[in-house]
C-alpha cells in the first residue's frame, strides 16, 4: 500500500546534513511507491526545501518562526505536531543525530507510537517495512518492524545511500504555521568545541587515537592526517580517561558508534568495548607497535610500527596522492 512518509531535514551551518538525504532515500522505500514529504523547521529554512526535493522528496513543508532559530525539544515538537495535524502521514523518518535522538522519543510518546531508533537498513519483506538496527553497540543486529499504526524510525548516518541529486527535479513547497510558545527550556549559549564542521558520527573518514598517542599533543599528527583526508578525529576510552582528549571524541560501547568508509586506528589496542563502536566501519586500518594487538583482528590493513613515525608519513603520502588526483 502506498504510504505518505514525512522526513525531517536537519541543517548544520546553514546546509542540509547528509543524513537527511539518506533519510529521504529510506523514505522512498518506506513509502512503497507513495509520497515522501521533506519537512524543514527553523527561522529561515525555506531556501533549502528544493534541495530536499532534488534528493528525492516529492514536496516540501516548512515551519518558520523566530522561536525556532535554535533547536529546543518543545519548539520543534510543537512545529512538527502542527505538520502532523495537517498531513496525517503514515510514517516519520529522522536522522539518528543529537536532534533526532532528542526529539523522536518525545514525539513518539506524544503520539502513543512505537519508534525504531538508529536503523542501519530498511527493506520491504512480504509487503512489510523492516528495519535493521545494531544492538550491544554493533556486537549484534536485530530486525524490527511496527505491525500497525504510525511507522516511526531514526536512521543512522552513513549507512543508507542517498539518491543521486537531480538538478532538474522540483516540487511544491508549502508553509505550515504553528504558534511556538511556552518553551520550558531556553538555549542560553552554544560553545563550539567540535572540529570545523566534520561531525564524528557522520564523517566518512575517522582517524582515532588510543593510549599509544601518549599525550594531548600526541593527537596533533592525527589531526593533520584528518585534515588532509577531510575526516574527523576520534579516540578510545583509554585516551579519554588519560585526559588526552575530550570525552565527546570517545568511540566505543560507551561513547559513539561510528561506521565511516575508512577508520584509521592509531595506537589503539582494540578492547572489545572499542571494537563494538567501530568494527562495522567499511575499511579499517590499524597502526600499532604491538603485532599481537586485538585491533589487527578487525583490520583490513595493518602496519606494525610507531604511530609517530607512520602517521606523519601517511599524511605526506596522502598529500601527494591528493595533489596527483587533481
Amino acid at each position: 500500500m502506498p504510504k505518505k512518509i514525512m522526513v525531517l531535514g536537519e541543517t548544520r551551518g546553514g546546509q542540509l546534513r547528509n543524513v537527511s538525504f539518506e533519510a529521504i532515500a529510506a523514505g522512498k522505500t518506506a513509502a512503497q511507491s507513495g509520497e515522501v514529504v521533506g519537512v524543514l523547521i527553523g527561522d529561515s529554512v525555506q531556501p533549502l526545501a528544493q534541495e530536499m526535493i532534488r534528493y528525492g522528496a516529492d514536496r516540501g513543508i516548512v515551519v518558520e518562526d523566530k522561536n525556532l532559530s535554535h533547536y529546543t525539544s518543545d519548539g520543534f515538537t510543537q512545529a512538527f505536531m502542527a505538520v502532523l495535524d495537517q498531513e496525517q502521514p503514515d510514517g516519520i523518518l529522522f536522522g539518528h543525530t543529537a536532534l533526532g535522538k532528542d526529539l523522536s522519543p518525545k514525539l513518539a510518546a506524544k503520539l502513543n507510537a512505537g519508534l525504531i531508533s538508529d536503523a542501519t537498513d530498511i527493506s520491504e519483506e512480504d509487503g512489510q517495512i523492516v528495519f535493521t538496527r545494531p544492538i550491544y553497540s554493533g556486537k549484534a543486529f536485530e530486525k524490527v518492524m511496527i505491525d500497525e499504526g504510525l511507522l516511526f524510525a531514526t536512521i543512522r548516518p552513513n549507512n543508507i545511500a542517498p539518491l543521486k541529486r537531480d538538478e532538474g527535479r522540483s516540487g511544491d513547497v508549502s508553509s505550515v504555521s504553528a504558534s511556538i510558545k511556552d518553551l520550558r527550556t531556553a538555549v542560553e549559549e552554544i560553545v563550539r568545541k567540535s572540529a570545523d564542521g566534520v561531525d564524528l558520527a557522520e564523517a566518512k573518514i575517522v582517524i582515532a587515537g588510543g593510549r599509544g598517542v601518549k599525550s594531548k599533543e600526541g593527537f596533533q599528527p592525527l589531526k593533520e592526517l584528518a585534515e588532509v583526508l577531510g575526516g574527523a578525529v576520534g579516540a578510545s576510552r583509554g585516551a579519554c580517561d588519560a585526559d588526552y582528549c575530550d570525552y565527546s571524541l570517545q568511540i566505543g560501547q560507551t561513547g559513539k558508534v561510528v561506521t565511516p568508509d575508512l577508520y584509521i586506528a592509531c595506537g589503539i589496542s582494540g578492547a572489545i568495548q572499542h571494537l563494538a563502536g567501530m568494527s562495522n566501519s567499511k575499511v579499517i586500518v590499524a597502526i600499532n607497535k604491538d603485532p599481537d594487538a586485538d585491533i589487527f583482528k578487525v583490520a583490513d590493513y595493518g602496519i606494525v610500527g610507531d604511530l609517530f613515525e607512520v602517521v606523519p608519513m601517511l599524511t605526506e603520502e596522502f598529500k601527494k596522492v591528493k595533489a596527483g588526483s587533481l
Binding site: 525539544s73 543529537a98 523522536s104 522519543p105 518525545k106 513518539a108 510518546a109 506524544k110 507510537a113 512505537g114 519508534l115 525504531i116 531508533s117 544492538i135 550491544y136 553497540s137 556486537k139 549484534a140 543486529f141 536485530e142 530486525k143 518492524m145 511496527i146 520550558r184 527550556t185 531556553a186 542560553e188 552554544i190 563550539r192 561531525d199 564524528l200 558520527a201 579519554c240 575530550d246 570525552y247 565527546s248 571524541l249 560501547q253 560507551t254 575508512l262 572489545i272 563494538a276 568494527s279 562495522n280 567499511k282 586500518v285 583482528k297 583490513d300 590493513y301 595493518g302 602496519i303 606494525v304 610500527g305 613515525e309 607512520v310 608519513m313 601517511l314 603520502e317 596522502f318 596522492v321
Partner: protein
Amino acid sequence: MNLIVLMKRTFDTEEKITISDGRIQEDGAEFIINPYDEYAIEEAIQLRDKHGGEVTVITVGNDDAEKQLRTALAMGADKAVLINSEEDIEEGDQYTTSKILVGYLKDKEADIILAGNVAIDGGSGQVGPRVAEGLGIACVTTITNIEVNGQNVLITRDVEGDQEKISTSLPLLVTCQQGLNEPRYPSLPGIMKAKKKPLEELELDDLDLDEEEAAPKTKTTDRFMPPEKAAGRILKGDTADQVKELAALLRSEAKVI
C-alpha cells in the same frame, strides 16, 4: 529534593554476544549497571548531598536486577524499587518500559528524574524522554553539568561535541552523558549499609496498569551476528614502503580515498 534514578541492568561490556534461536544467550554472562546509569546515580547522590532529600533508584525487570539495585544502594542511594514485569510481559519494548515507569512515577512528585543517555544493550535512548513526556515534565538529554538554584536549573548538554547551555526549571528529567561525573565505587561500609536499605518489589497490578496498556508497539523478528571479517593484511617491508603501499591500497583496492 526528591531524586529518582531510572536504572537498567545490562550485559557487562566485556561480554561477547552469542545468539541462538534468535535470542541473545544470557547464561553465564556477567551483568552490570548500565554505564550511563552510573553517571545518573552518582549525580543524584551528589545533588542530594548538596541540597538534601532522598535518592530512589528504580528499575523494570526481574529478580536478577536486585543485585544491581543493591550496588546502587551501596554507592549511596537511599531506596530502591524493582518493578517486576516478568509475570506480565513476555517481550516489551521502549513503549512498554516507559508506560510502566510512568505508571509508577505519576504520583511520586519527583523534582529531578535522572536516567542514562542510552543503554548499551538496546541502544535506543528512548525511555528517558518518553517518561518525561508521559509525566508532562521538561526533559534535557545528554547533560554534562547541572546546577540547581531553588527552582531554577542551569544545564550544559553535549550536542555532538559542542556544548549547549540550557536554562530550565524543576520538575525535570535529564539523561546523563559521559563527562558528567566520575561514578564512585561502593565502599565496604556502603555495601554493609545497603543490605539494610529498603528495596520494594512491585508488579504491574500494584501500578493499576494492565499488560494491554503496556503492550509493545514494535516487534523484533530476528537477531543475528554481523558477518565475520576475513583476516586483514599486515603490510611488510620498511616503513616508507608500507606507507606507500597502504596509500595505494586505500585508493585502488578499497577505493575509500
